[in-house]
């Protein structure tokens, strides 16, 4: 890849439980040795179930969390060593849309103030007409600038979240499940909106989601995570899955067509706790193709066009 916009190298993040009374602290690796390069203009999807580390990865990519190991570089500059002030300047070019439009907007801020907040953070003046322009970009009437969040529906609030993320003309936007708390009809509106903005403004997206169907529709490349590690990278969204976990995810995604009913497989075992990872492949306990080797050795992500971390890829 020539000159990626964002490069994550061997990123890890360890969380520790606080020292409690009579309780030993425990630690877990929320993200384990993840490397990922994103070129300008790409829409990369990260998909996985709750607890797979996708939101932690999103926060690491913007240096909202400090990695326990590895590095993040943006447009050639290493972010991990930067001071707070330099990092803040970098953040003009990289922003985030959060999952829950109910808790990510301050209820006492008018919409105009919420959208103008990035300017305040950066100590920049708000250009005349910029708020109205941003609102119209996300399909909201300029009259909404004086409203408060409680007067808006969930879909409208998420549009405000998007307008705020775009305020400083960023190059790179992390979308952390921007539609997970919305109705499907509103989800489709929001996806259409962010797809249009990406084309118009030449943005680069890292799109976090639990919905493989949506990611396959929307992204140009897909990274599948399971318990903190990347298990597969699909070079093309329609590529056939090679990892049994990706195949299971795909089989659990229902098409809106009764002619395509899925034969549901029996995935009985539970997702292991991240505090107590199994010795071998993290998916071994639930995998239909498991062998003894999977239970003792951790498979590494392969090289090449379509990397997969499995001893017996499909």
């Amino acid at each position: 890849m020539p000159d990626p916009l964002l490069r994550l190298q061997n990123l890890s993040k360890r969380f520790e439980t606080p020292n409690g009374f009579l309780k030993k602290p425990r630690s877990m690796l929320a993200v384990r040795d993840v490397s990922l390069s994103i070129a300008r203009g790409e829409v990369v999807g990260v998909v996985g179930e709750s607890g797979c580390g996708k939101s932690t990865l999103a926060r690491l990519a913007l240096c909202l969390l400090e990695p326990s190991g590895g590095s993040v570089s943006f447009d050639g500059a290493d972010l991990t060593g930067l001071r707070a002030r330099e990092l803040r300047r970098m953040r003009q070019r990289m922003t985030m849309v959060f999952q829950d439009p109910y808790s990510s907007l301050d209820p006492r801020y008018r919409i105009a103030d919420a959208v103008a907040e990035p300017f305040a953070v950066q100590g920049l003046p708000v250009p005349a007409g910029r708020i109205a322009e941003l609102l119209s970009k996300v399909g909201l009437p300029a009259s909404m600038a004086d409203s408060y969040p409680h007067q808006l529906s969930g879909g409208q609030r998420q549009r405000v979240g998007i307008a705020r993320a775009l305020a400083l003309n960023p190059d790179f936007v992390v979308l952390d499940e921007p539609t997970a708390s919305l109705d499907v009809s509103i989800q489709a509106q929001i996806i259409a909106l962010i797809q249009g903005l990406q084309a118009d403004l030449g943005l680069t997206y890292l799109f976090i989601s639990h919905d493989l169907g949506l990611v396959r529709y929307f992204c140009t490349r897909i990274v599948v995570m399971y318990l903190g590690a990347v298990v597969e990278e699909l070079p093309d969204p329609q590529a056939a899955p090679r990892h049994p976990y990706t195949a299971t995810l795909l089989a659990s995604t229902f098409a809106p067509d009764p002619a395509e009913r899925k034969q549901l497989s029996e995935l009985t075992d539970e997702v292991p706790s991240a505090f107590d990872l199994p010795k071998g492949c993290a998916f071994a306990g639930r995998c239909p193709k498991v062998t003894e080797r999977c239970r003792v050795t951790v498979p590494q992500l392969s090289d090449g066009e379509h990397p997969v971390a499995c001893f017996y890829p499909l």
Binding site: S153, V184, A188, Q189, Y217, T253, A255, D257, E260, E266
Partner: protein, 321 residues
């Protein structure tokens, strides 16, 4: 017919958030009740479970025939005897459906002790058997656990076990998989469909996800803003939706190989009860709206192809299907 809903309306104070709902359901069938938030799905569920008094609601018109008996005039104690026994309810959020300070086993035992009059030991044996059938490993150990010790999918299975514990004929499941991960959702859908097929239960499955409907249901009722929009067999609905709203809902789920930009959603949002539009309530968002839609309420009419639709301009192809 196990369940027949005739012209059901619900009134809360001076507003009527639900009106004119009709459908029926037989043993061994799964009926999907779909629509966006605010369309009246959960209200219908509460009415079916006899729980409307809980939110100060009442049924001014319509009948709810369960096994031939009308539930509308029933007293609270009559309804209580039915609920948990013949009619079971599975709620959306398994995190709040269980009592956090009671052991799992005691909570499930309670249902069969109350409704089937089982003794302590017999109730526990029944609980362990049910949990095992729902593929919960080490069911007897799990009985001693508290809800916070279990995963979301496990908790939802416990809630389903509670629903089954009174040996019901009808299960009403209100968005039972919305709070769960996709692989867990698939497990729960699998469990529910197997129960219906093997035990001859009837299931009302409430969801906003047309993918889940296509996967699991036999017939479908589409609600919009408190009224019935369309009611069809599942294959007919997905093959040739008659109501523009049904078609739009189906179009909200990405399909395999869909071209970028083809997912459009439904413009606008569901109106609130206080500001329902006149005429067809969907007309401000409808791509097919024409003369009359904004002032004349469309009647529910039967389709030759089976089912019924409430629309002045149903989508083409439906009349001669």
């Amino acid at each position: 017919m196990l369940l027949r809903v005739e012209n059901l309306s619900v009134q809360i104070g001076s507003i009527t958030p639900l009106e004119g709902v009709n459908f029926d359901l037989d043993k061994g069938e799964i009926l999907g009740l779909v629509g966006e938030s605010g369309s009246g799905k959960s209200l219908t569920a509460l009415a079916l479970a006899g729980l409307l008094p809980l939110i100060g609601g009442r049924i001014p018109t319509g009948r709810l025939l369960f096994d031939g008996a009308d539930m509308v005039p029933m007293s609270r104690s009559q309804l209580r005897a039915l609920r948990g026994r013949k009619i079971a309810f599975v709620t959306q959020n398994p995190m709040t459906a269980l009592d956090p300070v009671q052991r799992i086993g005691d909570q499930v035992d309670f249902v069969s002790r109350t409704h089937l009059g089982l003794g302590r030991k017999a109730a526990r044996a029944r609980t362990v058997e049910l949990l095992t059938q729902l593929r919960i490993p080490q069911a007897d150990t799990i009985c001693n656990a508290y809800p916070h010790q279990l995963s979301g999918g496990m908790k939802q299975r416990i809630v389903i076990a509670m629903a089954l514990s009174g040996d019901p004929e009808l299960i009403i499941a209100d968005e039972p998989t919305t709070a769960l991960d996709v692989t867990v959702q698939a497990q729960i859908i699998q469990i529910l469909t197997t129960l219906v097929r093997e035990r001859g239960l009837a299931l009302v499955l409430i969801t906003h996800d047309m993918g889940v409907v296509a996967q699991a249901c036999d017939k479908v009722v589409v609600l919009y803003a408190g009224r019935l929009a369309e009611q069809r067999q599942v294959n007919a609905l997905f093959g040739r939706p008659a109501h523009p709203y049904s078609a739009a809902l189906i179009g909200c789920i990405p399909r395999e190989g869909m071209a970028p930009g083809s997912l459009v959603g439904i413009p606008g949002a569901v109106p609130s009860v206080a500001s329902y539009p006149t005429g067809c309530r969907f007309h401000p968002r409808c791509t097919n709206a024409g003369a009359g839609c904004s002032d004349i309420v469309p009647e529910l009419r039967s389709l030759d192809a089976g089912g019924a639709v409430a629309c002045h301009y149903p989508l083409p192809g439906i009349e001669n299907a």
